[in-house]
């Protein structure tokens, strides 16, 4: 309990954290074309423009961004996901350590199951508006009709949407954080059509359970889905 409560108050310095955040936003596909203007983005991230600019420069030098001046300029995303290679996966796992991997997977399992259940409970209580139901269905259609190129991005968007639809920023942040911690791993495993189809059925089941207001079915469906993903990961590592 002590070690949990008295854990570090900051993860690192502002510069490093910012680089990490932007990089993840890019890899996640949350930022598709270009970053928001520096002044705006700095405000959103709660840092000074100087620090943000340092981070942007680092990403530019690493080849993720192309920065252009003048009106209609900005920091344009030049990153395209590299073809998945098993070696990248092994390196990614080695970088984070097996303990951290287990931690990340456990964390993700807990928060995403929790989010789905909360959302199902909301639906069950009749407090899920038509718009929100429709957004959930739309995200489902999008991910299920995605090609291999867009799949990861839309899958991320789908999972995050569930958390965001609960209306709890804290929960959405936790789910985003959980996803961030496994992006590199997921990006390193190939997107097989067979897996997409498998996942599509599971996504369907998740949405169905949520809209039906069945919390337990929702939790079970998410757990099965994430378990399948984890198993896929283990398979590629074995």
């Amino acid at each position: 309990m002590l070690t949990t409560v008295l854990r570090p108050v900051r993860a690192g310095n502002a510069f490093e954290e910012t680089v990490e955040r932007l990089l993840q936003a890019i890899k996640l596909g949350a930022v598709v074309e270009k970053l928001p203007p520096e002044r705006e983005l700095a405000a959103q991230l709660g840092i000074s423009r100087v620090t943000l600019r340092e981070a942007i420069r680092a990403l530019q030098e690493a080849g993720y961004l192309d920065v252009r001046r003048g009106r209609y300029g900005g920091a344009f995303v030049t990153y395209t996901p590299p073809p998945p290679r098993q070696e990248d996966l092994r390196r990614a796992v080695a970088d984070m350590g097996t303990d951290d991997l287990a931690d990340a997977l456990t964390f993700r399992m807990a928060v995403e199951c929790g989010a789905a259940q909360v959302l199902a409970a909301t639906a069950s209580a009749g407090r899920l508006s038509r718009e929100r139901r429709e957004e959930l269905r739309r995200r489902l259609r999008e991910v299920n009709s995605a090609g291999p190129d867009d799949y990861r991005r839309l899958d991320t968007a789908f999972h995050l949407a569930i958390a965001e639809l609960t209306g709890s920023p804290l929960l959405a942040a936790a789910c985003a954080d959980a996803r961030l911690r496994v992006t590199d791993l997921l990006n390193a495993i190939p997107v097989l059509q067979r897996n997409i189809e498998h996942a599509a059925a599971q996504h369907e089941a998740i949405v169905e359970a949520i809209l039906a207001g069945d919390t337990e079915a929702a939790g079970r469906a998410v757990a099965e889905h994430l378990e399948a993903t984890a198993a896929l990961l283990r398979g590629f590592l074995a």
Copy 2:
């Protein structure tokens, strides 16, 4: 999705965050006698000793700590929870805003349900050691035999233990964070013997479901328990 991923990278300055952390550690009862030595604590919190000392001085001036020099000295906790008053509750709610309150309660519901389910799944897979089972039972006995004075502290310890026993530091941190966000509220409502007994039965059900490896019963039991707490809160606000 953008607003979730590009959320602030830092909550505030190191000093403020540290004061908040220590204060919560104290109010939570995680620190009973005295804080760890400054050098050690600064390392744990990932900040410099200077910043830590400023935070400690602030808490000393606010009457939470008594700092003594020399060997066997340290920062001794002088805080005893004040008698709960409805006014404090209203003020605490007003301070955080109703949106943030709903956010915190939703977040807590999701992560604690998730944690209990993960732990139940671990037990179900036979990967929950005898020691961990015993710790869970011990925490249960402690909270269920607690008097009104110790109740909040042991209740916190019980709930946090579930998260910690999953072996996921991230999940434990999330649950601790969730609890922190409602401590002031819980501390402001009186501990009635009737509520303790009610909670005791729910705690029993939670532990039973976890040890039986029944994930769905575990999730349901935690949800019911937290829902009861939230209802209690609403009752005192109405």
